[in-house]
């Protein structure tokens, strides 16, 4: 029985949270990797673009709530996402037209584009803070838990409860749908294939008659969808705070590089690699050992490898290890 308890404990505190956190990171990482692969620069405005999209989701959610529209057990935000995505795509295309296009046509080095993205970061951050303010916002409504810890205990008679938040399940399902559609798009449709061709070899792609304008626009559209949904899912699961989103950029970048930058599938898995290692290393295993080990061997301390304050250190260490041993990432991305 103790063993089952231990498994439930790990499921509850490690596996499910890591799976949903990993999905959120994965969406961000695919966003980074697409921009890197096709537009060829590291986008330092990633976190703020995500918070920008989430801001629209929140605004629409508030509007729907005030009008009295809701989805019942599901969060209203789901209804708001499509509208927010439209605004977000508009914003992305405007930014591209007025900022990035110039440097692209001039064929500026990627470093300069990265620097320009810092400018975009400042502007986006300012706009988000001016419109919605820097404070913590929760916009979740609907049923909070799919399975409550207490109910689970009653049902199974175990000591350990398993609580599954509806946002966690929602995150995983939405991510799976979104990512599989994306991969289908990239691998099967003509536009997707031409995007991959463009990312692989720009000159050759242009020679074979691929329209670069269309490619760039499609990239921004996909990026807008990914950023909004990824940001909204993170905000639903935890809460929305512009500064947190800015900081989320770090594990997202780590995920993209670990997966092999420029490789969407690598970025997808990279998100989970980062999320699982972050949570596995910062979880306090004391209770787990109390279940598994005989009483005489129970540990005194928390048995925590790293305190949660150092979660960035986990991303960084993985990044360093990957850079040292496989500079192109786990799943070969661009050879850098």
């Amino acid at each position: 029985m103790d063993f089952v308890n231990a498994i439930i404990l790990l499921l509850n505190y490690i596996f499910i949270p890591a799976l949903s956190y990993g999905s959120q990171l994965a969406l961000g990482a695919i966003f980074v990797t697409l921009i890197y692969g096709i537009l060829r620069f590291a986008n330092f405005a990633t976190g703020d673009m995500m918070s920008f999209g989430t801001m629209f989701v929140i605004l629409f959610t508030w509007y729907f709530q005030s009008v009295g529209i809701s989805l019942g057990v599901l969060p209203t935000a789901l209804l708001a996402i499509p509208f927010a995505v439209i605004f977000m795509i508009g914003y992305m295309l405007i930014i591209d037209k007025f900022v990035f296009k110039y440097y692209r046509s001039k064929k500026s080095p990627p470093v300069q584009l990265a620097m320009v993205s810092i400018g975009v970061m400042f502007v986006t951050q300012a706009v988000v803070r001016i419109i919605i303010g820097p404070s913590d916002r929760r916009f979740f409504d609907g049923e909070k838990f799919l399975i409550k810890a207490g109910e689970f205990k009653e049902m199974t008679g175990l000591n350990e409860g398993l609580a599954i938040k509806s946002t966690q399940v929602l995150t995983i399902i939405v991510t799976l749908i979104l990512v599989s559609t994306l991969f289908w798009f990239l691998n099967k449709t003509k536009t997707g294939k031409s995007m991959r061709a463009y990312s692989d070899n720009e000159d050759l792609a242009l020679l074979s008659g691929i329209d670069p304008k269309k490619i760039v626009m499609t990239t921004w559209v996909i990026a807008g969808i990914l950023a909004t949904i990824g940001g909204a899912l993170y905000g639903l699961d935890k809460s929305f705070k512009p500064f947190t989103y800015f900081n989320n950029m770090l594990p997202i970048f780590a995920a993209a590089i670990v997966g092999g930058i420029g490789n969407p599938f690598g970025a997808f898995l990279g998100g989970y690699v980062i999320a699982f290692s972050e949570i596995l290393l910062t979880y306090a295993y004391r209770k787990f050992f109390m279940y598994v080990l005989p009483e005489s061997m129970e540990p005194d301390g928390l048995v925590q490898l790293l305190s949660t304050d150092y979660k960035f250190a986990v991303s960084f260490s993985i990044l360093v290890i990957v850079l040292l041993y496989r500079p192109s990432g786990i799943f070969k991305g661009k050879v850098l």
């Binding site: 330092f44 975009v120 960084f316 990044l319």
Partner: protein, 456 residues
């Protein structure tokens, strides 16, 4: 002379603006802006030699600044004897173990061929070492943090004059830069940016949460000063006489003796804080000038030419027999060390160390805006960028407020839009910085004072 006309013009406009602030707001504000401008200038010089001379992106400026600040604490605070006796030995032993571990790993890496076994053994040593070190240091840390947690709760420093920390801060920052550079240099420029961004967050996390070393978010206050204290100044005769002499015309107008005395007291209080700020300005100015001379000399030396060659065409420089990675490492360490000096200067000026206040936007990206706006590759430009951007950063709030009031003049004072906008005035500075950066990068990509290389 004519060639440098734009430099002189730009600097005189900048000084004029600061003097205007002094006349219209107060000399206190003007001098504090000036001092922070000088500190920013040191930071931009550090970032500029990395970006402008060598094309390296360092997004970890915040981390190096914080390390400089840490140096100020560790050098100037008096040692806490009880804490040392409570847990000092454990900490020292852990430190010894860390050094031993690094040496063993180095030895293995040097003397054995690359193989799977070697990797496993190194990994095992590191993991085992961390576990042992945690076991040894934990009781020590706990004991130290329990020594009067409200007042000390940390090991304290060496009790030396705080000026020394400017050098030590440079060594701290340079040391960290060496480690990062060893890992991340030689890869793409963007990777260095991401790696430094991550490591600066880690540095801040360590400083925030290792209370035994830094007191963490409890802050260290009342650091020693290289300048006199206001309270002492207000009681020294020569200073009172000086203030009296400076303001004699104003004071002579007042006939009543008691009134004259209160007016004088007021002037002395104001004057003392201006005097202290002037002392800091003098110290900072010395640092800026020394660094400026050194960086200018370096820029025009054969070494500077080599750096530019590496920046502009890495492959060609490599083919000419220049060791690109080694030179990059050198310049990365040098630049970071300069940023470390600035960090120590900042804490020296504030007299307190608040780890919670290190935010990437203020300490990393703002510095980058300064470098880009000022003119990368040109030291005078970088310093000017530090001045202009810091000035705007401070004065953005009043300007933003004025603009909001102007645009919403037709609205009622309680109108929700107006209230909302006035509440969000502090964020207009981000908008201003972002737009400024984008405009400069688009229309004047080389900055206000572009890089100009003359062959002498």
């Amino acid at each position: 002379m004519r060639k440098n006309l734009n430099v002189i013009a730009a600097y005189s406009i900048m000084m004029g603006l600061i003097i205007l602030v002094g006349i219209f707001q107060s000399w206190n504000i003007a001098l504090s802006i000036f001092n922070l401008c000088l500190i920013s200038a040191v930071m931009t010089m550090g970032a500029n030699i990395q970006w402008g001379y060598a094309g390296l992106i360092n997004f970890g400026i915040m981390g190096f600044t914080a390390l400089g600040g840490l140096a100020a604490v560790l050098i100037s605070v008096d040692p806490v004897q009880e804490a040392w006796s409570a847990g000092g030995s454990n900490i020292l032993f852990s430190l010894f173990l860390i050094i031993a571990m690094v040496l063993v790993v180095r030895y293995i890496l040097k003397n054995y061929k690359k193989s799977k076994n070697r990797t496993y053994i190194v990994a095992a040593i590191i993991v085992l070492g961390i576990v042992i070190i945690r076991f040894i240091s934990e009781p020590g840390i706990e004991a130290i943090e329990n020594v009067e947690p409200a007042k000390t709760g940390f090991l304290g420093g060496l009790g030396l004059p705080i000026i020394f920390s400017w050098v030590v801060g440079a060594f701290f920052a340079g040391g960290l830069a060496f480690v990062i550079g060893k890992v991340a240099l030689g890869l793409r420029a963007d990777y260095l940016a991401i790696a430094t961004l991550l490591i600066s967050e880690i540095v801040i996390a360590i400083i925030k949460h290792e209370d035994w070393l830094t007191r963490g978010v409890k802050n260290v206050i009342g650091l020693k000063r290289p300048a006199p204290y206001e309270v002492n100044l207000q009681q020294t005769d020569w200073f009172i006489n000086l203030v009296e002499k400076f303001n004699s015309s104003k004071l002579n107008l007042i006939t009543d003796l008691t009134e004259r005395q209160t007016a004088l007291n007021q002037l002395v209080i104001e004057g003392s804080s201006v005097f202290v700020k002037l002392c800091y300005s003098g110290l900072f100015l010395v640092v800026v000038i020394i660094l400026l001379i050194l960086t200018q000399k370096a820029l025009y030396s054969p070494w500077g030419r080599m750096m530019r060659a590496i920046r502009d065409n890495e492959e060609a420089a490599n083919a000419m027999g220049k060791n690109v990675v080694k030179q990059h490492l050198l310049i990365f360490v040098l630049g970071s060390a300069i940023v470390g000096i600035a960090g120590a200067m900042l804490v020296t000026q504030d007299g307190l160390f608040t780890p919670g206040s290190y935010r990437p936007l203020r300490y990393t990206f703002l510095i980058w805006v300064m470098v880009i706006v000022g003119g990368s590759g040109n030291n005078f430009g970088a310093i000017l960028g530090g001045f202009v951007v810091w000035f705007l950063w401070i004065e953005a709030a009043p300007i933003g407020l004025y603009l909001v009031n102007l645009t919403t003049a037709g609205l009622d004072d309680t109108h929700f839009l107006k209230v909302h906008l006035i509440e969000s005035v502090p964020y207009f500075r981000f908008l201003m910085m972002g737009v400024g950066l984008l405009v400069i990068m688009r229309y004047r990509p080389k900055g206000i004072l572009p890089e100009k290389i003359e062959i002498k």
